[in-house]
């Protein structure tokens, strides 16, 4: 989040609260504040199509709020009607009536200068896994499976170490070209890829999923994604072509071990 944008916006809104401005102003301020927040307030810029979608939801919500009672409707429409019908506001009305087409024209001018961009594909980053997959000869239940070596962490720490070590070997023989030496998704080939390789140091990745989710992602790779995940663009290999099942579970042990994170427990979101 970009605090240099968000904080001033919040400050302006707090100030308006003290000034007790009318509902129309509030509606405009909310719309503008949310737009500015979306457009400039996010650390990672959101695509224009997402902003448009979000702002239409905002517009509809504000309209619903305004329309929800007679008083609110009048609070918003009243000032507008007076602006348009009372003689004393005529200069202001003319100014506004000229300003709006001016802005619209300027916007059209900017848009005409823009170059066409390729169609945007809104990819689902972590699509839902299928209930089960077949790896080699074996069916793996992705809903209930846990890493078979995870329990060793408690029962036999030394054996667990061994699996983490084996996973480390798998990782640095195969994965770090894209996912990076320190698992930051910034390996030596990452600059040539889109989508970018997963960043395992991101708090939103490893702890948010059961290990079986990543087992699926590793075994089936990009081509195993459902259509909403964009399987044609993903450079994640189908590791079942290169690794056996043990190696895949081991590399998951390594990922969590290196980043000091724990997987989501089975059943946290599964209703038995």
């Amino acid at each position: 989040m970009n605090l240099w944008v968000v904080l001033p916006v919040l400050a302006v809104m707090a100030l308006l609260r003290l000034l007790k401005v009318g509902l129309l102003t509030w509606v405009l301020v909310w719309w503008g504040a949310l737009y500015i927040g979306m457009r400039y307030g996010l650390a990672a810029p959101a695509p224009q199509s997402v902003i448009t979608l979000y702002m239409s939801i905002v517009t509809l919500s504000l309209a619903a709020y305004v329309g929800s009672s007679r008083e609110r409707t009048e609070g918003v429409l009243g000032p507008m009607i007076r602006l348009m019908s009372e003689k004393r506001y005529t200069p202001l009305l003319v100014a506004i009536a000229l300003l709006i087409p001016g802005l619209a024209g300027y916007n059209a001018y900017l848009a005409a200068g823009l170059r066409e961009e390729p169609p945007y594909f809104s990819r689902t980053v972590h699509p839902a896994p299928p209930p089960q997959i077949t790896v080699g000869e074996r069916e793996v239940d992705l809903i209930r499976s846990v890493n078979p070596y995870r329990e060793l962490e408690e029962s036999d720490p030394q054996a667990f170490e061994e699996h983490a070590r084996a996973g480390r070997e798998v990782y640095y023989e195969n994965c770090f070209y894209c996912h990076g030496d320190a698992l930051g998704g910034d390996g030596m080939f990452a600059h040539g890829l889109d989508p970018l390789p997963s960043d395992f140091t991101d708090a939103g990745v490893l702890p948010n999923f059961q290990e079986s989710f990543f087992f699926w992602r590793v075994a089936k790779g990009g081509p195993g994604l459902p259509a909403e995940g964009g399987p044609w663009d993903s450079a994640m290999p189908r590791w079942e072509q290169f690794l056996d099942e043990d190696e895949m579970w081991d590399v998951l042990i390594f990922l969590y071990d290196f980043t000091d994170r724990t997987p989501r427990e089975v059943g946290e979101f599964v209703n038995e």
Binding site: M84, P101, G184, G222
Partner: protein, 575 residues
């Protein structure tokens, strides 16, 4: 020959007298211990638990990970042959070496970097020897860049023979480039001086100057500190610096094809692409499907495209150390799995010359120079290469005629075979069962394109040439390949004003690339920019008038309803 002794002898010969100043800077036990913990977590996987450069990943990397026991470091502030300072080591770790597998480590703190540097020093005994103490050179701040200085630098470049290794146009294609090895006997790629973002020591002018001054220890790059004045070194620096478009490669996503009115004819390419805009796409190793390539020779491909009412023409250019125009290549050639590959662990560029000794020669520590002699001998013998090119390709003679190779250089452009439904694309590596791709393949030893339909990298089907035609030429370290095809004839349809996914593959025969072992790009887009000038006033006037009309309507309606003397109809409020 004992490398270590050589280094020591060099130091003595150069009489740096470094031991007279400064003190050993080895850190405390606690610092080295903290360094060890960091090293074991972040470094040992490549550089090895004992610092010998033989970690888990080492065999798949090129350049190979540094062997810290040697004390030889490329990027330093000390004079040639000397050990780096603690600060040098910290800087290397923090910045990494671009376009190698050594990443930057900005996340490590100053303290951590210091600890790591002390631990690295502990691997090489020389650091603890007061005789080898080295002081950083006084590297001057760069004077302002001038074109004149770069001009003079270009003469210096020729005079002192930089081109022998780096090539006449500095594309890393000098005559001796294919034979170069580092102090460990591994093949080493000469820097392509037209891409300063790939310079291991950094792209800034002071980084380039430093390389001339301190040399890159362990590599054939010598120091010019003794033989060239500071002024001349700055001139050379300015020349090298001026060869790249920027510090950053500025990779693109879209190739914009310009509409032209002239005829597209492969016999007459002069100025054909002048109006076109160049796009530069990053090339990475194909490491996703079996037959992986961990270190492709190419790092990028420059592309331009034009079209008229009938044809599309696409031009690809990329730098290559040497044109391999003997042997053959194909997108479907078998590549053994890395684990079963006898060449595995071979550095990029250890092209095995037919009839030459076993590759082990390149690896043996002692035999560094014997392989080199073989290369040269081989090169004299082979002169029939021109036959492949025919008389009309006489301008390609600038290419060093390399020895016979098993695999030739090759290139391919890839498009979806069918009209896309929605956002769905074929798999970017030679398509998939549901969505095939057209692969415009060209074996550069043949001068004839061949179209394949790909339904996955193990399901390619040759379709012959069809309507496709192409020509290729090699000039001083750069391949140029131009493809043309009618806009709609046989396979993918090109339409004005529309986007189409497009991807590229490059094979370097020198690097024994073939089939799946190659460099590739992700899907990028080809856009056929509509012809004619785009009008700005039209849409602007339209929008302004439309908005005004809507406003008048609203104001008119409101006034009619609320102004007809019925003042009371307006709800009274604070305003």
């Amino acid at each position: 020959m004992n490398r270590h002794l050589t280094a020591m002898a060099l130091l003595v010969l150069m009489g740096t007298g470094a031991a007279t100043a400064g003190t050993l800077d080895l850190g405390s036990d606690a610092q080295r211990e903290a360094g060890r913990v960091l090293y074991d977590k972040y470094c040992a996987q490549c550089h090895g638990d004992t610092g010998d450069g033989k970690g888990i990943a080492a065999d798949r990397l090129n350049p190979r990970p540094r062997d810290f026991t040697s004390g030889k470091y490329k990027i330093r502030s000390t004079s040639s042959g000397n050990l780096p300072t603690t600060r040098d080591l910290m800087d290397i770790i923090r910045k990494g070496l671009p376009y190698t597998s050594m990443p930057p480590w900005p996340q490590l703190s100053e303290t951590e970097l210091t600890e790591l540097a002390y631990y690295l020093k502990a691997f090489a005994p020389a650091f603890a020897d007061p005789d080898f103490l080295s002081e950083p050179l006084d590297l001057p701040e760069p004077p302002p860049f001038t074109e004149e200085s770069a001009q003079r630098g270009s003469q210096v470049y020729t005079e002192i023979g930089c081109g022998l290794c780096h090539g006449e146009l500095a594309r890393g294609d000098g005559r001796s480039a294919p034979t170069l090895t580092d102090d460990w006997g591994d093949s080493i790629r000469v820097a392509d001086l037209t891409k300063r973002w790939t310079f291991r020591g950094g792209p800034r002018r002071k980084d380039i100057f430093r390389a001339f001054t301190t040399a890159l220890n362990g590599t054939p790059m010598p120091s010019y500190a003794e033989s060239m004045s500071v002024e001349k070194r700055w001139e050379l620096t300015d020349y090298v610096w001026s060869l790249s478009p920027g510090d950053d490669p500025a990779y693109d996503n879209v190739l914009r094809a310009k509409k032209i009115s002239r005829q597209i004819d492969l016999q007459d390419l002069d100025g054909l692409f002048d109006a076109a805009e160049q796009a530069y796409f990053p090339v990475i190793g194909q490491i996703m499907e079996p037959g992986r390539e961990f270190h492709p020779s190419a790092t990028g491909v420059k592309v331009r495209a034009v079209y008229n009412e009938i044809d599309l023409a696409v031009e690809l250019r990329w730098n290559d150390m040497r044109a391999e125009t003997s042997g053959s290549n194909g997108p479907d050639l078998e590549v053994p799995r890395f684990e079963d590959d006898p060449e595995r662990g071979a550095s990029a560029g250890t092209a095995r010359v037919e009839g030459s000794d076993d590759e082990d020669d390149f690896w043996g520590d002692e035999e560094e120079s014997s392989g080199e002699d073989d290369f040269w001998a081989e090169e004299e013998e082979v002169s029939d290469e021109d036959d492949f090119w025919g008389d009309e390709e006489a301008e390609a003679d600038g290419a060093p005629s390399g020895p016979e190779t098993e695999f030739s250089d090759a290139v391919a452009i890839q498009f979806p075979s069918q009209v896309l439904s929605g956002n769905r694309k074929p798999y970017f590596i030679f398509g998939d069962g549901k969505s095939p791709v057209d692969i415009w393949f060209m074996d550069l030893a043949r001068q004839r394109p061949e179209m394949f339909v790909g339904r996955g990298s193990s399901a390619l089907e040759s379709q012959g040439m069809g309507e496709l035609s192409a020509v290729a030429s090699f000039d001083r370290g750069q391949w140029t390949v131009v493809y043309t095809r009618p806009l709609r004839d046989g396979g993918v349809i090109f339409e004005e004003g529309s986007f189409l996914p497009m991807a590229f593959s490059l094979w370097d025969g020198f690097n024994r690339e073939r089939g799946n072992k190659r460099g590739l790009t992700r899907w990028v887009s080809l856009f056929l920019e509509p012809g004619g000038k785009k009008s700005v006033t039209g849409p602007v006037v339209k929008v302004v008038l439309l908005t005004l009309l809507v406003e008048f309507l609203i104001i008119g309606l409101v006034r009619r309803r609320y102004r007809g003397g019925v003042q009371g109809a307006v709800p009274a409020s604070r305003a």
